[in-house]
């Protein structure tokens, strides 16, 4: 376990580049593997999204048949959520969390490698349904009885179940690793309340994964038994219950929503203070709001099931509305952080601002959906599709791009090109809103989700056409990003150790960091150890808006002499 820091670096130990990446247990390389793998699945699922949008552009079935369309939206949702957004954020967590807490590696490096390698395996299994008579086609939620033995008898759904079980196991192992790392591997002085917010959000996320994902695994196994061994978990004719699947799926599925958004919130909470040149406003309030969202997430699952008639509406509506409180606290944290700050509109900052505005819209439509009368009206319409994309895409994916631009210099030692990054952002932002804002109106006027065709008389054609144009604009916006990455590898501006004048420890080591991460660590007296290293403790008091932070720095500095410093 992570003893390399005390050993002299092995000299002359060489192996091939490929073997090195295939067998690595270095959290930084595994983090990059996670991110690259996730983006490959992002492109695959993005192509499926273009198939969906192309088909919906005008009435009639022009490009694919109904069954292929069903497979397309099922695979799009499954891959985007389980093999892009969750793992890409886990990848950033893998790379950044040990650096942020001053650790040499994750707690269990080999389990870390296992967690990663299960992902491509699971993803390929899920996709391999296309080779065996068609992929899963019941939607990413796989409601019974559609996913049961009576329908969809192709192996695609079985492969979907097996693949998701592997991906879920990878998540659980990763969660064990993150929690053990955060509790056991922090550097001297890095108390829980000095951890960077990103680390806090990863900690809460890992806890949600640890407790929610196994329930999905149990449900997937039950579904597999029903499909293959004649079980009757979800078959009402012999004592089963199809609604049970919805309970199990959403008991996992709603924490999953926060699994997907919390680390992105953490990214934004690192980026905003750095480019506002201020500490995060209300650190502890943010931490408690994060923990509060985590706790509430286990008591709201049935708001996905209002129209089943099988759930107690007032309770789940109330608990769901409660989530707006911690989320609202965070919104004020972010706004107050920027208030009277020296804002620098770099690309990661732009994506973070995009996150704030888009996630706000997604949050508001979420509170609307928490109200049963509205939910009954728009259940399974494009309003829900709009809501979930404003949260997943406008929230999480904007956070992913903010993280990509923010930490790329640390990972590869070169800064991504800023003008190209801004082109990416604006195309992305405009394309996103063109694609998804009209869906609100489509949903309110009754367009159901998961249909491949609609009547020309329904009045949905123009809005669908706009949405499709937006989807293709998003696809085009990815090109400057890819060009940027390639061009930066060839001839990028060297970044140096700390290109953004960051607050947290990952900027205290070289870019990219050595295998053991740190030769020496600065003293840690706050959640911004690097800021105090470069600016000194007095600096913060010179600006009135920093005053609320000052007592912490002052009070904590008193116990500095009894703490071993500059030591890993």
């Amino acid at each position: 376990m992570a003893t390399t820091t005390l050993e002299p670096r092995a000299a002359g130990y060489r192996r091939s580049w490929v073997l090195d990446w295939l067998t690595t247990v270095d959290h930084k390389k595994i983090g990059i593997l996670y991110i690259v793998n996730s983006f490959l699945f992002f492109f695959a699922a993005g192509i499926l999204a273009l198939v969906i949008r192309a088909e919906l552009a005008v009435p009639g079935m022009q490009f694919v048949d109904q069954d292929t369309y069903n497979q397309a939206f099922t695979m799009h949702g499954t891959i985007m959520i389980f093999l892009f957004v969750v793992p890409v954020l886990a990848g950033f967590g893998n790379y950044i969390v040990p650096l942020m807490i001053g650790a040499p590696d994750m707690a269990f490096p080999r389990i870390n490698a296992l967690s990663f390698w299960l992902l491509p395996l699971g993803g390929i299994l899920i996709f391999s349904g296309y080779l065996f008579g068609g992929a899963a086609a019941e939607g990413w939620t796989a409601y019974t009885p559609l996913s049961g033995p009576d329908y969809g008898s192709t192996p695609g759904t079985d492969l979907w179940i097996i693949g998701l079980t592997l991906v879920g196991t990878a998540s659980i192992l990763g969660a064990v690793n993150f929690i053990a790392t955060i509790f056991k591997m922090r550097a001297p002085g890095m108390t829980l309340f000095r951890m960077p917010i990103f680390v806090w959000t990863v900690l809460v996320t890992a806890t949600l994964i640890l407790l929610a994902t196994p329930v999905l695994t149990a449900g997937l196994i039950a579904l597999f038994i029903d499909r293959n061994y004649g079980g009757s978990f979800f078959d009402p004719t012999v004592g089963g219950n199809p609604i049970l699947w919805q309970h199990i799926f959403w008991f996992f599925g709603h924490p999953e929503v926060y699994i997907v958004i919390l680390p992105a919130m953490g990214v934004v909470s690192e980026v905003l203070p750095v480019f506002s040149r201020k500490p995060l406003f209300g650190y502890k309030a943010f931490v408690f709001a994060t923990v509060g969202i985590g706790l509430l997430s286990f008591s709201v699952w049935a708001h996905h099931m209002f129209t089943t008639g099988a759930v107690f509406l007032p309770f789940f509506a109330f608990m769901t509305a409660l989530i707006a409180i911690p989320t609202g606290i965070k919104m004020f944290n972010w706004l107050a952080t920027m208030w009277r700050g020296k804002l620098m509109l770099t690309t990661p900052m732009l994506f973070s601002l995009g996150f704030l505005s888009m996630f706000l819209i997604g949050g508001i439509s979420g509170v609307m959906l928490a109200s049963p009368p509205i939910d009954f009206h728009v259940q399974d319409t494009y309003f829900v599709v709009a809501h979930l994309h404003y949260v997943f895409f406008g929230g999480s994916v904007f956070g992913v791009f903010a993280a990509s631009y923010y930490w790329f210099p640390k990972m590869f030692g070169r800064k991504l090109n800023e003008p190209l990054g801004k082109v990416h952002f604006w195309l992305h932002f405009i394309g996103f809103n063109l694609a998804f804002f009209p869906m609100h109106q489509l949903g309110l006027s009754g367009m159901p989700r998961r249909i491949g065709d609609y009547s020309p008389d329904a009045g949905w054609t123009i809005l669908n056409l706009i949405s499709t144009a937006g989807a293709f604009l998003i696809a085009i916006s990815i090109l400057p990003f890819l060009i940027n990455v390639i061009a930066t590898f060839i001839n990028g501006e060297p970044a140096g150790d700390d290109p953004w004048e960051g607050n947290t420890l990952e900027w205290a080591t070289s870019s990219p960091p050595p295998p053991h991460n740190f030769d020496r660590l600065p003293p840690i007296h706050s959640e911004r150890p690097l800021f105090f290293l470069t600016h000194g403790h007095g600096h913060a008091a010179e600006r009135p808006e920093d005053l609320e932070e000052e007592p912490i720095g002052e009070s904590k500095s008193g116990d500095a002499e009894r703490r071993p410093e500059d030591l890993v």
Binding site: V176, A180, L211, P214, A218, A222, L244, G558
Partner: protein
């Protein structure tokens, strides 16, 4: 708004949580990992129990029984329960032995625990062969075999762990100071035991 909250805490309030050396104080990291893994396993069985109670609640009181022609063997299940509970004690005797540095007793108690675990599995397979109903026979058969079967799979996993512990103790790899793997496997074994008590109480006693 947040400023008073922050100032309200006296200096150094959180310093009690400081780990002076990374991973060097408190519970060994491997045990933390095992406890977290067990927490996820609790949730997994929670999901399976949910399917059980859902099926149980879908029939009228008194209507919950094995499919026609089948039965549950309560005496055999009670004996198996006693075997598995006893194995938890023998496991713990092994842990206490190695904490004293007694490697001989560790080998002995681990071997006995492994034997009891294998006996449990053999008894469960025999039980399955005698019940007269299968996983296809309605909701009762499905939830019964899934719950007991996945528990059995976990006993098997624990037995694999015990085999590794036994092999490693035969090679003299454990000592009073260095035996974290023994502690980890014993935690897992106790967990599997507790799950069985839950399964047994639910299926055989609550009915």
């Amino acid at each position: 708004m947040t400023a008073p909250t922050m100032q309200a805490h006296p200096a150094g309030e959180h310093d009690a949580a400081v780990a002076v050396h990374p991973g060097g104080s408190g519970m060994p990291t491997a045990l933390v990992g095992m406890l977290l893994f067990i927490a996820s396993e609790v949730m997994f069985f929670g999901g399976l129990f949910a399917t059980y109670f859902n099926a149980r609640a879908s029939v009228a009181p008194g209507e919950w029984h094995p499919p026609p022609g089948g039965h549950l063997d309560l005496p055999l299940a009670a004996v198996l329960t006693a075997i598995l509970v006893a194995s938890s004690f023998t496991m713990q005797f092994g842990v206490w032995a190695i904490r004293r540095g007694d490697t001989g007793k560790l080998k002995l108690w681990t071997a006995i625990t492994l034997a009891l675990g294998v006996l449990f599995l053999a008894g469960q397979i025999y039980d399955y062969s005698q019940l007269g109903f299968g996983i296809r026979d309605g909701a009762f058969g499905t939830v019964f075999y899934t719950l007991t079967g996945f528990h059995g799979a976990h006993v098997f996993g624990g037995a694999v762990g015990l085999t590794i512990i036994l092999a490693r103790s035969m090679r003299g790899q454990f000592s009073q100071r260095n035996h974290v793997a023994v502690e980890a496997v014993s935690m897992y074994w106790h967990f599997v035991d507790v799950v069985w008590i839950g399964v047994f109480s639910t299926i055989y006693l609550l009915r």
